[in-house]
Amino acid sequence: MLGMLARLLKALNSEAGPWAIAWGFVLGMIMGLTPLLSLHNLIIIFLAMSLRINFSGFLIAWLFFSGVAYLFDPIADYIGESLLQAQALQGLWTSLYDQPWARLAQFNHTITLGSLTFALLFAPLWLFISYYLVVNYRARVKAWFIKLKIVQALRGSKFWGIYERLSSLRGGSV
């Protein structure tokens, strides 16, 4: 966990593209908010592993949104229930119900459909928010952050050792 956080800090403080980090956050958010054992998460993992996004950002976002998901489930359930019960969509759902791949994707599960719909709708917004946060962190917060006493204290800790080691391995700098 400490290693992962250190990797994320390194990415934030390195020259890695802010879009790569933002996309990592987006994919992690989708996987975190939706039930883990779902077919679409296979696609998310495939994308996360195959595309040059920041994988640490993806993992951190997944862990963060997995926690958030416990609070979010009632809302997801409500959204899924509303969609699945909507009269206008009954034809779509009925035809999907006979498709094995759709059933494997658990489209008819209220929380799966509700959370995935929300996550996909929220993804563009979250992409830009993530991008904005990364850019502004680098421009405004990074120098201030390093000078914080708590960060200074951390410099003598195990966490900092890991961070230093990663930096030296990848040739990055703070």
Partner: protein, 593 residues
């Protein structure tokens, strides 16, 4: 491209899934075998074994070898076993919970075969069976009949023999009556007294009153005589009444005494006799387990369908964990075996069953599940045919029918009943049966008629009642069993009635009368000896009382005769004499006219 694609990540992903697929490929068969074993064990209620499972990937097909379903009621036996079962499954449909099998083949099917070792019975099955609780086994019902024939001493103790008490009370009553009569005998006027009355009457009759005074004196003597005679007559009447009472009392006692041994023997016989209501269950008790087993085999298909129906109906939505919403347009069943051929070998007989459209969602396919039995030629019976169908609608209501006809089947020797003190075996019998079982809204109705001929039964048992029951059973040559079926699919109840009950009741009655006569000869002799001794004592007393009664009646007659006739005549005669004499005197004084 390299700017966007992380090749090593993609390869890692593909490699991981390739390994996963390889794992599935190599371990699917054992995993499926484990899953099938576990699932079927849950449905069956007891251990299910599958020795080998082979998979064919394209088209996907499964072959099972040596499948054994433990009978949860008798874990030493398999309720069903098959040497080979093979079927093809549509994989994509199966992945979404729809099991479609085009053709299923099962060979080497057998039922009721002994297992190599007893199978384990699931705890929930045992708990469910214990919860049913009040379902009595045929053996328990036999125990409740209370078949028992006590020995002679026990019989006499239980039947409260009353003859000795009657002898005592009769002797006491007779003695008392006779004493009462004896004590009052002094009140009976002696013959001398009667003679005196006649003498006094003769004296009065001879008297010739000459004057009014003499007549008045004569009238007083007459009145005294009449009063004395009336007093004695009243005493004689009282004595006569007491003698009558004593005689009646003694005769009543004698009657009771004579009836006492018969009443006692009747009471003992009643203790020996069986309750007819109890005998009415004997056919069920003897043939119930066998018929139950036949019925279990006949309805085995329903045993497997019933739990599936329950699992269909048991889906509970759970809020906040989400729920799966069904968009089933009712056009496709979730389970369907389009054709199944099963073959069963019993001895030298091959029985094949063809099943069409096995499912529990018949409304979706628009036709019922049908099945037809085909049987090869066999020396064991003359003819056998069976077929049936069932239809389950969307409301999970089970409807169907099954009929069969079996003619001239020879039953081999088998044990009908085994208790601590009794074994009943059916040595041989020829069986004919026709049955028609219907299922409507999940409940059985109808049943079967079973006719058994050339029946030979044998019993073993040391107790008296076991020997008697054996004697009665050996008299049975032929009988009918009417087997009624009721209750829900999965838990049918049998109701067996038979003319065997009447036949057995009649035979047992004869056998027991014979037994009772043998056992009671000695008792009868003892009781009659007691009565005879008492009668020898009572009879002289009765004779004595009857003599006294005759004597009293004689005395009373004599007195009453004297009172009724002589006294009135005597008074009138004296009055006439006096009147004549006074008339003569008066005529003499007046001048001779």
């Amino acid at each position: 491209m390299n700017k966007y694609i992380r090749w090593h990540g993609m390869l890692a992903f593909i490699g991981f899934f390739a390994a996963l697929i390889a794992l599935v490929y190599f371990f699917a068969a054992p995993a499926l075998r484990f899953g099938l074993t576990t699932g079927l064990t849950r449905v069956n209620g007891a251990e299910v074994n599958i020795e080998r499972l082979s998979l064919q990937w394209s088209p996907f097909a499964v072959e099972l070898q040596n499948i054994e379903f433990t009978d949860p009621e008798t874990p030493e036996l398999n309720r069903f076993q098959a040497q080979r079962v093979s079927f093809g499954v549509e994989v994509l449909q199966a992945m979404i919970g729809r099991v479609y099998i085009d053709e299923l083949s099962a060979t080497g099917i057998a039922m009721g075969v002994e297992r190599a070792r007893p199978g384990r019975v699931r705890a929930d099955y045992i708990a469910e069976r214990e919860a049913e609780g009040d379902t009595r086994t045929w053996g328990e019902r036999f125990a409740e009949l209370g078949f028992d024939f006590p020995d002679l001493d026990e019989l006499l103790e239980r039947s409260e023999i009353r003859t000795p008490a009657v002898v005592d009370s009769s002797e006491r009553a007779v003695r008392q009556s006779r004493n009462d009569v004896e004590n009052r005998r002094d009140e009976l006027p002696s013959s001398d007294v009667i003679d005196q009355y006649e003498t006094r009457m003769r004296a009065l009759r001879d008297a010739r009153p000459r004057t009014i005074e003499e007549f008045e004196q004569l009238r007083r003597q007459l009145t005294e005589l009449r009063d004395d005679m009336r007093a004695d007559r009243d005493r004689v009447q009282a004595f006569t009444q007491s003698v009558e009472n004593a005689a009646n009392q003694i005769q009543t006692s004698v009657r009771e005494l004579r009836d006492a041994p018969g009443a006692d023997l009747d009471r003992v016989r009643r203790l020996i006799e069986l309750d007819n209501d109890a005998i009415s269950d004997i056919a069920g008790i003897l043939f119930g387990p066998q018929v139950q087993q036949w019925t279990d085999y006949a309805l085995i298909a329903y045993d497997f369908v019933a739990p599936l129906l329950q699992s269909e109906a048991e889906e509970e939505p759970s809020r906040w964990e989400g729920r799966f919403i069904e968009f089933d347009d009712g056009s496709a069943p979730s389970f369907l075996i389009r054709l199944a051929n099963t073959s069963l070998t019993l001895g030298e007989v091959d029985i094949s069953v063809r099943w069409d459209n096995i499912t529990w969602q018949h409304e979706r396919i628009g036709s019922p599940t049908t099945y037809v039995l085909n049987v090869s030629q066999t020396p064991y019976w003359n003819s056998f045919s069976a077929d049936g169908n069932f239809f389950i609608n969307e409301a999970i209501e089970f409807n169907g029918q099954q009929q069969w006809s079996l003619q001239g089947a020879e039953l081999t020797a088998q044990r009908l009943l085994e208790q601590a003190n009794l074994r009943v075996d059916l040595s041989r019998a020829v069986i004919n049966s026709r049955g028609d079982v219907r299922i409507s809204e999940g409940r059985f109705s109808g049943g079967a008629g079973v006719n058994l001929q050339d029946v030979e039964m044998a019993t073993e048992g040391d107790r008296t009642w076991a020997r008697l029951l054996g004697s009665a059973l050996t008299q049975i040559q032929a009988f009918d069993l009417d087997v009624g079926l009721a209750g829900r699919v999965g838990s049918p109840r049998l109701n067996i009635s038979s003319d065997l009950d009447n036949q057995l009741s009649s035979a047992l009655s004869g056998v027991m009368q014979e037994y009772a006569s043998e056992q009671l000869t000695e008792v009868r002799a003892q009781l009659e000896a007691q009565v005879a001794a008492a009668m020898a004592d009572i009879q002289p007393q009765l004779d004595q009382v009857q003599q006294l009664r005759s004597l009293a009646q004689d005395r009373e007659g004599q007195l009453q005769s004297l009172l009724d006739e002589e006294l009135d005549n005597l008074r009138d005669s004296a009055l006439d004499q006096l009147r004549n004499r006074l008339g003569d005197q008066l005529r003499g004084r007046l001048g001779g006219n």
